[in-house]
Structure formats: C-alpha cells, structure tokens
C-alpha cells in the first residue's frame, strides 16, 4: 500500500503568540515549531496501515528549511521517505496555493491513501485536504476518528463524528482522509528511529520542479487575504460572591448572572 502523509509545521501550542506590527502576521522569532498535531494522527495511521498491508509511507511538507525537522520526526516515527517543497516564491500561499503545490508533487507519485490533518492548529482553516482531493479528482473523507481498510485493500470505511452521532462512510481507494483527534495515539520517535531517520531519503523540490505558474501560488496567488489578526480579549478577573448565608449568596449570584452577565 502506498501511503502519503501531508504535514504542516506549526507553532508549538505552548508558544506565546505575539502579533507583528501591522496586525497581519505573527512574530516568528521566538517560536518553537512542531509538526501539526492533527498531522501526527495521519503519520501514525499511515504507519499502522503499512504494518498491516506492507508498502511504504512518504511524508510531504512545505515551507522553509526548518520544516525538514518535522519531516525528520515523521521519518523517525517510521515513515520511509520525505519530500520538502521549499521555495521563496511559495511563501505566503493560502490553503489553495498550498494544496496546488502538494498536489503537483503527489501527481508524480503512486498512492492509495493520502492523509492530512483535519486542519492546521495555526490558521484553523481546514481547507487544504479538501483542495488536494479536488485537484487530484479523488474522494475526500474528513474528520476520521476510526478507519478500516478492507482486506482486499480496495476500499476503506471511515467513522466520523456528527453532532454526537457517528457517520460511517465508505470510499474506494485512492482516497484522501483528513484525521481528527481520537483516531489513534501517535507513537514517539524512538531513539533507534531517530538514528535510522538520519539515513532515510529526504528530497527537496522547488517551484520549478512542480510545473506550476508562479502566479497561482505564494502571496500573489492568494484568494484569501488576512486583513487583521487580533488577540483574544483578556480574561476578566474572577469575582467572589459575597453574602452572610448560602441563600444570600445564591440570590446575589442569580442577580449577577441576570443583570451583569445577562446569562439568565
């Protein structure tokens, strides 16, 4: 089974995000970059399928050189080869631009299943997976929390949550599946895995290798423009309800909820 995992590098969830002057970007100087957690589920699922059906796992990432670190992590977890798409002309691409670049690389590869995280935790758009599937003309199943490939390796059954219920979807391979928390528990990059990853192939591709029109991608090709980024409002200080008796306190609480918070 040929499996492809697309991964994005995003700021670590512990990072203190600062907005750059101008309000359209974040300050990237102090950021610790990690593999998008939703993509980790994809890597893990790909490795499990490989263990069951054989085949190989290719991870593809896009961005500056530092993205190599996340690709290496996937290789250390057990993926077989990596591809980094890195080109200054691709910087600033929106989800569609990113999908075009990824799809251009994937077109040159054999694949049965493509995994992407259901969204990147940085911009939270959740579009890239669907765009890639569309560009490749294959079905997409989103938000997978359980996945079962038929014994003959020709179709897949995917569970996805819908409003407290579970929807079971079946699709023929090749298919693109976006992964959601709950699908699996991603493995660690073990120390032996890390040392092996050093020797695994990691190919780098530039825009010229993709056969894309530079106008379609990068900042110039954006269909979506970020107008402004604002931080969430600071949390107001808590309030301790005063009162002599529990009854007094409850009355006061009810009054505050009604008059100040306007919740009841």
């Amino acid at each position: 089974m040929k499996i492809i995992v697309c991964l994005k590098q995003v700021p670590d969830t512990e990072t203190q995000i600062k907005i750059a002057p101008g309000g359209e970007k974040i300050v990237t100087d102090d950021i610790k970059w990690v593999m998008n957690p939703y993509d980790e589920f994809g890597v893990e699922e790909a490795l499990r399928l490989k263990e069951k059906f054989g085949g190989d796992v290719t991870v593809i990432g896009m961005g500056p050189k530092r993205v190599t670190e996340s690709i290496r992590t996937a290789l250390a977890m057990g993926a077989d080869k990596g591809i980094l798409i890195s080109d200054a002309a691709l910087e600033g691409s929106d989800s569609l631009g990113t999908a075009k670049a990824l799809a251009a690389v994937i077109k040159g590869l054999q694949f049965d299943i493509i995994f992407t995280g259901q969204r990147g935790i940085d911009e939270d758009q959740g579009l890239t997976g669907a765009c890639i599937a569309d560009l490749l003309g294959i079905p997409q199943v989103s938000l997978a929390v359980k996945l079962e490939v038929a014994a003959d390796g020709k179709s897949v059954k995917v569970n996805r949550p819908v409003e407290g219920q579970t929807l079971v979807v079946e699709a023929q391979l090749p298919v693109l599946i976006t992964t959601q928390k709950g699908l699996n528990e991603p493995r660690y990059a073990s120390l032996p895995g890390i040392m092996k990853a050093k020797k695994k192939p990691l190919e780098e591709k530039a825009l010229k290798d993709l056969g894309l029109d530079p106008a379609e991608v990068g900042l110039g090709g954006r269909k979506l423009k970020i107008i402004k980024i604002t931080p969430p409002p600071a949390r107001a200080e808590g309030k301790i309800v005063q009162g002599e008796t529990p009854q007094d306190k409850a009355t006061e609480l009810a009054r505050l909820l009604h008059e100040e918070a306007k919740l009841i």
């Binding site: 203190q16 120390l191 990853a197």
Partner: protein, 594 residues
C-alpha cells in the same frame, strides 16, 4: 567546523580556552534535538499524568514506565549497540538526563538504573556478562541497582565489611554482609555489589535478586523521592557464581571510582533539567498570581529571583554540555580497539574527574537554590503539596549527599588537581609561580580592554584563574602534603575553581553564540553572564582573602592581600538592570529563556 582543542582534566584553570573549544547546546545536531523532544514527550505523556501515583511507591507502575523508557531507547544511550543499546555520544546521554530531571521520583529510578546500575557492566563487565545483562537493562526488562554503601562505609567507601569467600567447590563466591541506602532495591533484578574477597580484596560482583541468600530489608522513610525505593540489601551466605565476578579480584575500587565520575556528571545533567522545571513553574505562577492588583511577576524582587534562577541554570547548562563535549572529544581520540574496551573508555572519562566533581557540586547546589526560590515565589502555596514546588524542594536535597557528598567532592577538586600536578601531569605549580612573578609588576590600572562584548568579563575570569592559582600556590607552599588536612582551605579553593568553571562555561557559550548569531540575538545571554560575573567576583575575592589570612601572617599577609586586591580588581556594573532584562524575557516567554 573547526576542531575543538582537547584539554586535559583541570587544565581549564591554567590554559586559555577559546569559545571554539567548547560544545554548547546551540551546537546540537538534528538528532540531539529530536532525542530531547522524545524524552520530554515521554515525561509529559507518561510521567506527569501519573506523578501522584508514582509518589506512592508503586512497584508495577515504576517497572512499567521503565519498560516503556527502554522501548524508546532512553535507557540505552551509553550501552553499545551489540548489547541492545544505542551507543550514542555523551551529549545524547546529557540530553536524556536533562529531560529526566523533571521526572520526579522516576528520575531517581532512571539515574540509578542507567548510571551506577548499568554502567559498571558496560565498562568493566566481560563479554559474557555484557551479553547476559545489558540487553535486559537497556531494554528496561530488568531494573538495576548499585550496592556500595554500608552502615560503616559511606564516604569511606572502601571500608566495606561485606565479605566474599570462594566456595570449596570453586563454583561460587559466598557473600555475607549488608549494604545500605540502596536505590531501586525494592524492584531491582540485578545488583552491582562490592565485597572484599577473603575480607581483604575489594571486588565487584553482579548479583541477581533470585540468587539464594539475597534479600532486602525495610523501606527507608525519606524526606523526598518518595516514589523511589531505598532499602538495605542483605547477603546471608549468598551464592554468587564465580562467572559473576567483575573485572579482577581486588580491582573493585577502580570500578567504583570510575563509575562515580560518570555518575557525578549524569547527576549534574539531571539537576540542570530540574532547575529549568523550577524556572518555568515559578514564572507561570508569578504571572498568574495577583496581589495589590498586579501580577507578582511585576515586582522587582520577584523578577530578581526569577532571573537569578535562570542565570545560574544557564551556567549549569553551559557547564554540563561543555563537559559532555569534552568526553566526546576525548573518546573520539581513542582507536577502534580502545573504543571497544570499556576500561579504556572509563579511563578517558576519568581524565575529567575534577570537572565531574565540579558539575556535581554546582548542579546540585544550583538546583537547591532554584527549588528554594521556587517555593518562596509561590509563598504559602509553595509550602503546600498541592503545588509541585514542595516536592521539588524535598526531592532536590539528596543530590548534595549522594554520588559523594558535596564536601567530599570539594576535597576532590583541588585534591585531584594537586595530585596530578605532583605527578607532572598538570602544570599547576609553574602556573602558580608565573602568577607570583607577574604580580610584582602587574598593575590593573594599565589594563586596556577591547571594545567587544563581554571583554570585561573575559578579563575578570582570566584574573580569577590567576587568583585561584596564587591562593592554591601559597597554601600548597605553606602546608605541603598537609594541605589536604586543611579542609576549610581545600573547600574554599574548590569553591573558587568551581565558580571559575561555571563563569567560563557561560562566557564561552555566549561568545560562541555571538559569533554565530550576532550580538542582538545573544543579548539576554550577554546580560546573564554580566550579572553572574558581577555576583561571583566578590565571592571569589572573599574566599581568596580568607585563605590567605589563614595561611599567612605579618608582612607576608599584607603583601599577599595586596596581590589579591590587584588580581581581583573589578568595577561593578549595574547588575540589577541586567537581571531585569533577563527576567522580563522569561516573563514574556513564560519559560527558561536560553
């Protein structure tokens, strides 16, 4: 990258070490970074969620975690590949040790298992012993322990009473005796045990839990590390097969002392990781705790505490990785045959025995400082076990005691260096004489410093080396071989040497960073070094004066004190401001900033 110059153990005190000669965390390879991430992931996903259960001395849980750590390769960094380990460099071991520093009691299990429990077999086991035991230990299938201490043999380790006698059929050594304070005793499957063959020849043995006559006593009730097991191990006519004798009869001290060197450096790495945990815990609390309507992190004295914790940790971190790099460089010079020989490897590490002692003392005292301030910043909450500061505080205390008390290690720093000087291996005496000569004509007023970052600090560290050499020289001349009996003098010389190594490690790392990334990117590192040197220089001067005042009298005392004054001349800087700069950065990042 240019080759790092290899220095002899203790040579930093007399030589000019360049910033190109030290390994720093900024030199981590991609693999080092990934190993650090894996180790940290292991702590946050496997240890932190169960830390309360771990504190209850949960036998199954500990062994389960050890197995998981083994599967990830975290236990095998020092074990060669052919015996089921990873055979990685010492920087990798330091990286794992650092991460384990925040693992609470599991760090104690890990430290004893991978260090003193496993390494004697790595370095001094024979082929069969390595094949039999190392895969189980590196894989975490077996837990290991180390039995050196006895009730009457603590710091005086060779005074052991445990005895080994060859059985009449020549197949077993029969061990009798009792070891004390044995970490992991309650759940270990293998013990490295020292006993005197025929009551005379100090010798190492590998003893399995299931050998007849081996048992453990009651658990000690300890101040901290409650999740670790500490018991006596008792040998009553214990039958140990002759093939389990380690190395050679009567050569146990060689194993014991070499392993302690390594244990000291590993301990240093773990304490440094713990310090980082304190900084992060303290700053997160200080930012959230509001008093007088503002977060307490906005108060100057709290800022100063946070900065002091991080700055000392920076020195500790710089020191531990510098030493790891020194090991790797030295081990890199061994030929293929020597690399395979554990005894040769241990010998190469023994070269840096003074630095190992320095790391142990500095690391453990830095951690005690950090845990103390961590509790203080949390105030009343710091005293309650609901917050981790209280556990950190209790857990840290043992580190100044084991692997050789900090007093023993303070004796060893100048002791080992003087011994090597007398054997002609370390040119301490000529260096001390040179300083005495220089002092006649040296005038601190004529010193012109270049206008480069940290030039003043570089100069001051150079001068403090001369000061330490001068003081050691004067003391050695006065007391001769009797100097070792002047423990207070030895201790103060050790303090000077330890602080010099700390300051220099931070300085060289920062200079290397400036060269690589420029001054702007290194501005907090620069502030840390400036502030630390400013704190430390007066302490060094004070130790020097105390020693000289004890050693000399009359005119000689006045002359020597004038010499001290010349060498220690230093105009203080605005360290309060430097610390504010560092503190604001920590508060912004909410974590250790370097």
């Amino acid at each position: 990258m240019a080759e790092r110059k290899i220095f002899a153990g203790g040579e930093f005190l007399i030589g000019d070490v360049g910033h190109g000669d030290v390994f720093t965390p900024e030199d981590f390879t991609e693999e080092h970074k990934m190993i650090l991430e894996t180790a940290k992931d292991f702590i946050s996903k496997e240890i932190n969620p169960v830390i309360d259960r771990l504190e209850e001395k949960n036998h199954e849980l500990v062994l389960d975690l050890l197995k998981k750590a083994g599967e990830l390769g975290l236990l095998g960094t020092d074990v060669p590949e052919e015996y089921g380990g990873m055979g990685l460099d010492k920087v990798s071991t330091t990286v794992v040790g650092e991460a384990m520093g925040t693992a609470g009691s599991f760090s104690v299990v890990y430290g004893a298992h991978t260090g003193i429990g496993t390494l004697p077999i790595v370095y001094f086991g024979n082929e069969e012993q390595k094949k039999k035991y190392l895969p189980k230990l590196a894989g975490g299938d077996w837990c290991a322990a180390y039995c050196l201490t006895e009730s009457g043999a603590g710091s005086d380790a060779l005074n052991a009473r445990t005895k080994a006698v060859l059985s009449p059929d020549g197949k077993y050594y029969i061990l009798n005796g009792e070891k004390m304070f044995i970490t992991n005793a309650g759940w270990a499957s293998s013990f490295v045990v020292y006993a005197k063959v025929d009551g005379q020849h100090f010798t190492g043995f590998i003893v399995e839990k299931t050998f007849p006559g081996v048992s453990t006593g009651a658990e000690e009730k300890k101040m901290g590390a409650h999740g670790s097991s500490t018991r006596p191990v008792i040998f009553e006519d214990a039958k140990v097969p002759v093939e389990n004798l380690m190395y050679e009869v009567g050569k146990g001290h060689k194993i014991a002392f070499n392993i302690l060197n390594i244990g000291r450096w590993k301990l240093g790495a773990m304490t440094m990781g713990g310090c980082k945990g304190c900084v992060t815990g303290a700053v997160k609390y200080a930012k959230g705790r509001v008093q007088f309507k503002v977060p307490i992190s906005s108060f100057g004295m709290i800022k100063q505490k946070i900065a002091d914790m991080a700055i000392r940790t920076y020195m500790s971190e710089s020191m531990m990785y510098r030493l790891a790099g020194m090991f790797d460089d030295k081990l890199g010079t061994l030929d293929e045959k020597a690399k395979k020989s554990g005894a040769e490897t241990a010998k190469a590490i023994e070269e840096y025995a003074p630095e190992c002692s320095i790391s142990k003392v500095y690391g453990s005292e830095c951690l005690d400082f950090c845990t103390d301030e961590y509790v203080q910043i949390l105030g009343g909450y710091g005293y309650c076990s609901e917050y981790p500061a209280e556990r950190y505080y209790r857990d840290a205390r043992i580190n100044r005691i084991w692997e050789g008390t900090n007093e023993i290690n303070r004796m060893l720093v100048p002791g080992t260096m003087l011994q090597r000087a007398l054997k002609g291996q370390l040119a301490l005496l000529p260096a001390a004489q040179a300083v005495a000569g220089e002092l006649m004509t040296y005038s601190p007023l004529s010193v012109q410093l270049p206008d480069t970052p940290l030039a003043l600090q570089q100069h001051v560290i150079k001068m403090s080396k001369k000061l330490a050499l001068m003081v050691a020289g004067v003391a050695a001349q006065k007391f001769g071989p009797g100097l070792v009996k002047e423990q207070e003098v030895m201790g103060k010389i050790a303090d000077m040497v330890i602080e010099i190594f700390a300051m220099e490690s931070g300085l060289l790392r920062t200079l290397k960073l400036i060269e690589k990334e420029g001054e702007e990117k290194a501005k907090y590192h620069i502030a840390a070094v400036k502030a630390y040197v400013d704190d430390t220089m007066p302490r060094i001067e004070s130790w020097a004066k105390q020693v000289i005042s004890h050693v000399e009298s009359g005119d000689m005392l006045r002359t020597q004190l004038a010499g001290v004054k010349k060498l220690a001349r230093y105009q203080p800087i605005d360290a309060i401001n430097e610390k504010r700069l560092v503190a604001d950065r920590i508060i912004e990042l909410e974590s250790y900033p370097f």
